[in-house]
C-alpha cells in the first residue's frame, strides 16, 4: 500500500514537470515580449552607457545568442533557483521572494482554514434546514459575497472596523517599532491578520458554502442513505456520520483548485492592507517596472499551485480509499 502510494507520488511529480517547463517557457516569452532587456534596464539605472559597453554587457549576459540558446540558458538558471536580479532592490529575486513568502503563507493558510471551516459549517446548516429562512439567508449571503470585489470589501471593512470602531489596525502585519517578542508578537500579528484574512476568505466562503450544500443534498439521495434509514439509523446519525463524511470530498478538491485564484486574491488584499507578502511585492514591482521580480513571483506562485494540487490529490486518496492509485 505504501509502495503504491509512493509510486503514485512519483508519477504525479513526473506529470507536473512538463507543466512546470511550459510555465517557465511562458515566463521566458513574456520576458522577451517586454520592451527593453536587462541591459537597457542596467543602462537606464547607470544613467549613461555607450553602445559599445551595452553590446559588451549583452555578450556577457548571453543576450546576443539565438533565442533557443537563451531559453536553454534561462531554464538552466531557473533549475538551480536563479530567478535573476532585481535592480531596484539590488538583491537576487529568489532571495527577495523567500523573504516575503512567510507573511503570504500565514495569510493564505489562515484564509483557507477559515473559508473551508466556516463554509462547511454554513453549507451543513443550509442543507439540514432546506428551504427554511436559514437556508435562504445563507444562500443570499453566498450570492452577495460571490459578487463583491475583494478590494472593495477590504476598504469597507477598514471604514467600519478600523476607522469607525477602532477595533483593528488599518494596515501592516505588526505594530511598527514595538519590537514585541514571543506570544506578544504572535498576538500582535493575529490582531493585524483578522481583517485581511476575513476579506480574502469571504469569496471562498461563499463558494464552499454553496458547494457543501449541493454536495450534502446530492449525497442525501444516495442508496446507502436509504439503506441506513431502512436499518433504523437515526436521522442525526445519518447526517453526521454518513452523509457529512462523503459530502466533504468535493470540498477538499475545490480547496486545492482554488489555491491558484487565492494567490491572485492575495495580491489585492495585501495591497489594500499593506500586508508585507508576495502580493504586495508584486504590486511594488509593478510600479517600479521591475519585470524580473514580477516574473519571479509569477513562476513561484505557479510552482506553489502545482505543489498544492499534488498535496490535495494525495489527501484525497487518503480520504477516499476507493480511489485507484494505479
Amino acid at each position: 500500500m505504501l509502495q503504491a502510494r509512493l509510486r503514485y507520488v512519483f508519477r504525479r511529480l513526473a506529470q507536473a514537470i512538463p507543466i512546470l517547463l511550459a510555465i517557465i517557457i511562458i515566463n521566458f516569452l513574456l520576458l522577451k515580449l517586454a520592451p527593453g532587456d536587462a541591459v537597457d534596464v542596467l543602462a537606464g539605472e547607470a544613467g549613461s552607457a555607450t553602445p559599445e559597453y551595452m553590446a559588451e554587457l549583452r555578450t556577457k549576459f548571453g543576450l546576443d545568442q539565438p533565442l533557443p540558446v537563451q531559453l536553454a540558458q534561462y531554464i538552466g538558471r531557473v533549475a538551480v533557483g536563479d530567478l535573476g536580479y532585481s535592480f531596484r532592490h539590488e538583491m537576487p529575486v529568489a532571495e527577495l521572494i523567500l523573504n516575503r513568502l512567510g507573511p503570504t503563507l500565514i495569510l493564505m493558510v489562515t484564509t483557507i482554514t477559515l473559508a473551508v471551516g466556516v463554509g462547511i459549517l454554513l453549507g451543513l446548516l443550509a442543507a439540514t434546514g432546506l428551504n427554511s429562512w436559514r437556508d435562504t439567508m445563507i444562500s443570499v449571503l453566498a450570492l452577495v459575497s460571490y459578487a463583491t470585489p475583494l478590494f472593495w470589501v477590504g476598504l469597507m471593512l477598514i471604514v467600519v472596523f478600523s476607522i469607525n470602531l477602532g477595533w483593528f489596525p488599518t494596515s501592516g502585519m505588526e505594530t511598527i517599532a514595538a519590537f514585541k517578542t514571543g506570544w506578544d508578537r504572535v498576538w500582535d500579528i493575529a490582531h493585524h491578520l483578522v481583517l485581511p484574512a476575513v476579506t480574502l476568505s469571504l469569496f471562498y466562503l461563499a463558494l464552499y458554502t454553496r458547494l457543501m450544500r449541493a454536495s450534502m443534498l446530492e449525497q442525501a439521495g444516495m442508496d446507502y442513505v436509504t439503506t441506513a434509514r431502512a436499518k433504523g439509523v437515526s436521522e442525526t446519525r445519518i447526517t453526521y456520520a454518513h452523509v457529512l463524511r462523503n459530502a466533504l470530498l468535493p470540498v477538499v478538491t475545490m480547496a486545492g483548485v482554488q489555491v491558484s485564484s487565492l494567490i491572485g486574491g492575495s495580491v489585492i488584499v495585501e495591497t489594500v492592507f499593506g500586508w508585507p507578502g508576495l502580493g504586495q511585492l508584486a504590486f511594488e514591482s509593478l510600479f517600479a517596472r521591475d519585470l524580473n521580480l514580477l516574473l519571479g513571483i509569477f513562476l513561484l506562485s505557479a510552482a506553489l499551485v502545482l505543489l498544492v494540487n499534488l498535496f490535495v490529490d494525495l489527501l484525497y486518496t487518503m480520504l477516499d480509499p476507493r480511489i485507484d492509485l494505479a
Partner: protein
C-alpha cells in the same frame, strides 16, 4: 412539461421554443430582478454621454463634496470629479470589456474544446495539456503581467482577461462534444460524407449551445470583476473612466471621504450580482431537467 402541449410528429417552431424558454425564465423571480437591474445598467451606459456629455475626468466642483447634495448626487472625489458621472461612464467600460472579453474567450475556448473533443487522440492530449497549463497559472497574476507588459489600454485589458478566461470553456465544450460525437444523428452525417467542419459547426455546436450560453453569462460577471481589480491596481486604460479606478482613486482619503470608494464599489457589486442571477435563471430555463433535480 405539461404547460406546452405538443401533438406527436409536430416539431415546435423557434417561436414556440422561445416562448417556452421565456415562460420558464419568468418563473424565477430573482433572475427577473437581475434582468431588470441589468437593463437599468445598460440604459445608464447608453445614455451616459447624453446626461454627462463632458469628460468624467473633468474637474466639476469642489474636491470631496459630500454626497446627496444639491449639485452632485453622489459627491465629488479628491480632485473634484463628479462621482455619478464617473459611475455612468464606468458602466460603459465595465459592460464593454466584460462582454467583448467574454466573446473572445468563448470563441477561442469553443474552438479549442471542439477540436479536442471531436478529434480526440494526440490533438486532444496536446490541447488539454495546454489548457491544463493555463489553468495551473494563477490567473490574476498572469493578467497583471500581461497588461503590465503590453501596456494598459482597453484592448490589452480585454486580451488579458480573455487569455485567463478561456480554459474553463474549452473543458466544458470538450465534454459536451465528447458526449455528442457518437450520437446517431452525428454518425449519420459522418456516413453522409459531411465535412468535419460542417458537422462540428452545424450539427454538434448548436446542440451544446445551452451550457455555453450559461457559462458565458457567468464569465461576463467574472470578467467585470477582473477588470475592476486591474483598474483598481492602476492597470486600467488611463483615458477611460472605470469603477475600479474610482475606488482606487478614493483609497487614500478613506478616512475623510468614505463615499468616493463606496458608491463605485456598490455599482460593481450590484451589476455582477445581477449578471449572476440572470446566468442562474438562464441555467434553470435552458436545462429544465437540471432544475428539477436540484430544486
Amino acid at each position: 412539461m405539461t404547460d406546452a402541449p405538443l401533438t406527436l410528429g409536430e416539431t415546435p417552431s423557434a417561436l414556440d421554443r422561445a416562448r417556452a424558454f421565456w415562460r420558464l425564465f419568468l418563473r424565477n423571480r430573482s433572475a427577473v430582478a437581475g434582468l431588470v437591474f441589468l437593463g437599468l445598467v445598460i440604459l445608464l451606459a447608453a445614455v451616459a454621454p447624453l446626461i454627462y456629455p463632458e469628460s468624467p475626468f473633468r474637474l466639476a466642483g469642489r474636491p470631496m463634496t459630500p454626497p446627496f447634495g444639491p449639485d452632485y448626487f453622489l459627491g465629488t472625489d479628491t480632485l473634484g470629479r463628479d462621482i455619478m458621472a464617473g459611475i455612468a461612464h464606468g458602466a460603459r467600460t465595465s459592460l464593454l470589456i466584460g462582454v467583448i472579453a467574454t466573446l473572445v474567450a468563448v470563441v477561442f475556448g469553443t474552438v479549442m474544446g471542439a477540436l479536442a473533443g471531436y478529434y480526440g487522440g494526440w490533438i486532444d492530449d496536446l490541447l488539454m495539456r495546454v489548457t491544463e497549463v493555463f489553468q495551473t497559472i494563477p490567473s490574476f497574476i498572469f493578467a497583471i503581467l500581461l497588461v503590465a507588459i503590453l501596456t494598459p489600454s482597453i484592448q490589452n485589458v480585454i486580451i488579458a482577461i480573455a487569455v485567463v478566461s478561456w480554459p474553463a470553456l474549452a473543458r466544458l465544450v470538450r465534454g459536451e462534444v465528447l458526449s455528442m460525437k457518437n450520437r446517431e444523428f452525428v454518425q449519420a452525417n459522418v456516413i453522409m460524407g459531411m465535412s468535419d467542419a460542417r458537422i462540428i459547426l452545424v450539427q454538434i455546436l448548436p446542440n451544446c449551445l445551452s451550457p455555453i450560453i450559461v457559462a458565458g453569462s457567468l464569465l461576463v460577471a467574472t470578467a467585470i470583476l477582473i477588470e475592476s481589480a486591474l483598474s483598481f491596481l492602476g492597470l486600467g486604460d488611463p483615458n477611460v473612466m472605470s469603477w475600479g479606478f474610482q475606488v482606487g482613486a478614493g483609497r487614500t482619503v478613506l478616512r475623510r471621504a468614505w463615499w468616493i470608494c463606496t458608491f463605485p464599489g456598490i455599482a460593481i457589486m450590484l451589476t455582477v450580482l445581477a449578471i449572476n442571477l440572470v446566468g442562474e435563471g438562464l441555467n434553470d430555463a435552458l436545462n429544465p431537467r437540471l432544475r428539477e433535480r436540484t430544486g
